[in-house]
């Protein structure tokens, strides 16, 4: 490697870092100027390309964000002038921009300005607009708010780059055709739209969280991207308890990241995890966010409730110290708020821990014929666990084997097969002894 090449590498990595940090603000500001998120992104990309051409020779500017913004603004004026329709509006915008150009843009003051925060929030709501499919919302959010490149998103979601590219192009076209305004929804609409934003962030988080140790680094990094987005959103709408609830949930789940699989990637159940490996910083952040979520008036939302359950685990110094009765009470509230067979199944597990396997299995039997659980491997897995504790080893082995056959996750399947084998052994011992 020549010296010149390595210097270029250094600059390119610096540009990558600047881009990930600055592009959401840049695109948000440009969307305000152009009222077109697609055009704003193209302009931001142009500015990025200019940086890639010029910075290796001229060095990285002292305030790179301001440089990118100034460059993109120049291009915005050109683009609006060139615009095929050349409506008067475009002219007006171009003139307005030109006047702004006379005073040198100062991103430092812009950053402090609440306006940038408002623009970012508007961009968040555009990216998660219900006119888009959930997949499109996720892709657009990662691209415009997470600063990820199309190939990075594709790698993270294990799909071809062209698929993500098309998804983003189509999403931008859909937004443009629907004339989605650059605004924060008001009134009753706000909560529904916010729920869609939270859903997208949590989807991204789970995609990263479910990645295993051997995966490409970019998949686990999605969890960090989601956490960042969540924290930024919490700063933008601090009065919304569910945003803090989601942040709390993500921080607390992320705190167990290092402890939840062994070296071979096999998942370790929460009660068997080495708690010394839990990240105390993330736990403290999670508990602080949960406190904020619970400090407001009104009942807790689904994210805050799930975070409260995660907090019960986080607070327990040992698995035996877990406050299962409290967890059951929170699941009761969650089941009332968002009734679902999955919540019921988790509640059954908690009831089993708090009040014994007989009480738990009774609840499992009550939901066993729910169609939503027909293909869900954790139903037989949970039932197998309870049967094992009740020393009904033959039945336990059958259930665990059934669960193993239902999951496609290889480490998890192996774990279930091991447990099925253990149950079979116990069954033989019992018959042998009897």
């Amino acid at each position: 490697m020549t010296e010149a090449e390595s210097r270029d590498d250094v600059v390119h990595r610096a540009i990558d870092a600047v881009w990930r940090m600055e592009s959401p603000r840049l695109i948000a500001g440009l969307t305000r100027l152009t009222r077109d998120v697609g055009l704003a992104e193209d302009l931001a990309q142009d500015a990025l390309e200019a940086a890639l051409r010029q910075w290796p020779d001229q060095g990285i500017p002292d305030v790179p964000g301001a440089w990118l913004m100034a460059t993109a603004r120049h291009r915005a004026i050109d683009a609006l002038r060139r615009h095929a329709t050349l409506q008067r509006k475009a002219h007006e915008l171009a003139r307005e921009l030109e006047q702004q150009q006379l005073t040198p843009p100062d991103l430092d003051t812009d950053i402090d300005n609440a306006a940038i925060g408002d623009d970012l929030l508007r961009l968040v709501f555009i990216c998660c607009h219900p006119v888009l499919s959930v997949e499109a919302r996720v892709a657009l959010t990662l691209r415009l708010l997470g600063g990820l490149r199309t190939d990075e998103i594709a790698r993270a979601f294990l799909v071809p780059e062209a698929t993500i590219g098309q998804r983003i192009v189509r999403a931008k076209r859909t937004l443009s055709e629907a004339g989605v305004p650059f605004e924060v929804p008001q009134g009753a609409d706000f909560r529904t739209r916010l729920a869609s934003v939270l859903q997208v962030i949590y989807l991204v988080f789970n995609e990263g969280y479910s990645a295993t140790a051997g995966d490409d680094w970019i998949r686990p990094a999605l969890g960090e991207d989601a956490l960042r987005l969540g924290r930024v959103l919490a700063g933008l709408v601090p009065e919304e308890p569910e945003v803090h609830g989601l942040v709390a949930l993500m921080e607390l789940q992320a705190s167990r990241m290092r402890a939840r699989t062994d070296a071979s990637g096999t998942p370790i159940p929460i009660l068997e995890q080495e708690r010394g490996r839990w990240d105390q910083l993330l736990i403290n952040r999670g508990l602080a966010a949960l406190e904020q979520a619970e400090s407001g008036p009104g009942p807790r939302g689904p994210y805050a409730l799930q975070a409260a359950i995660a907090a019960c685990h986080a607070r327990a110094r040992t698995a035996e110290a877990t406050d299962w009765a409290r967890i059951v009470a929170i699941y009761d509230a969650l089941a009332e708020l968002t009734p679902s067979p999955i919540v019921e199944l988790n509640r059954a597990v908690a009831v089993g821990m708090a009040y014994g396997p007989a009480a738990g299995i009774e609840l499992v039997e009550g939901i066993a014929d729910q169609p939503a659980l027909a293909a869900y491997h954790l139903l037989p897995a949970v039932r197998g666990d309870f049967l094992m504790k009740l020393e009904r080893f033959d039945e336990a082995a059958a259930e665990l084997a059934r669960a193993a056959a239902m999951t496609r996750n290889v480490p998890e399947r192996n774990l279930l097969l091991d447990r099925a084998a253990a149950a079979t052994r116990r069954a033989r011992e019992t018959t042998g002894a009897g």
């Binding site: 990558d16 600047v18 990094a221 700063g235």
Partner: protein, 117 residues
Amino acid sequence: MKYFMKTEADPSAAVTPPSPELMVEMGKFIEESFRNGSLIATGALDPRTTRIRSEGGKFTITDGPYTEAKEAVVGWAIIEAASKDEAIELSKRFWGLVGDGQGTIQRVYDPGEVPQG
């Protein structure tokens, strides 16, 4: 990834207290950084150190040595960044507010994290 950043005391420079404007700007920067998760902890170090040494079950405690020059308090921060490059960019923002000076940036490993290259 976590990084430890430290300013370096410059004994030759006059010790001037930060201006009220800088205090306000820095306060905003710190608040914003805590909120978006990039700042984990920050503070200042007294330049006077106490040394402890353990040898064969015996401890030796020494204060100092102190230099005669007025040493400035050293600032430090532990930050969270996606990469070293991002840590450098965050550090530039700090120095952009402070002005002239120098410091160090070091990767911090979490318990169980394996140091690489």
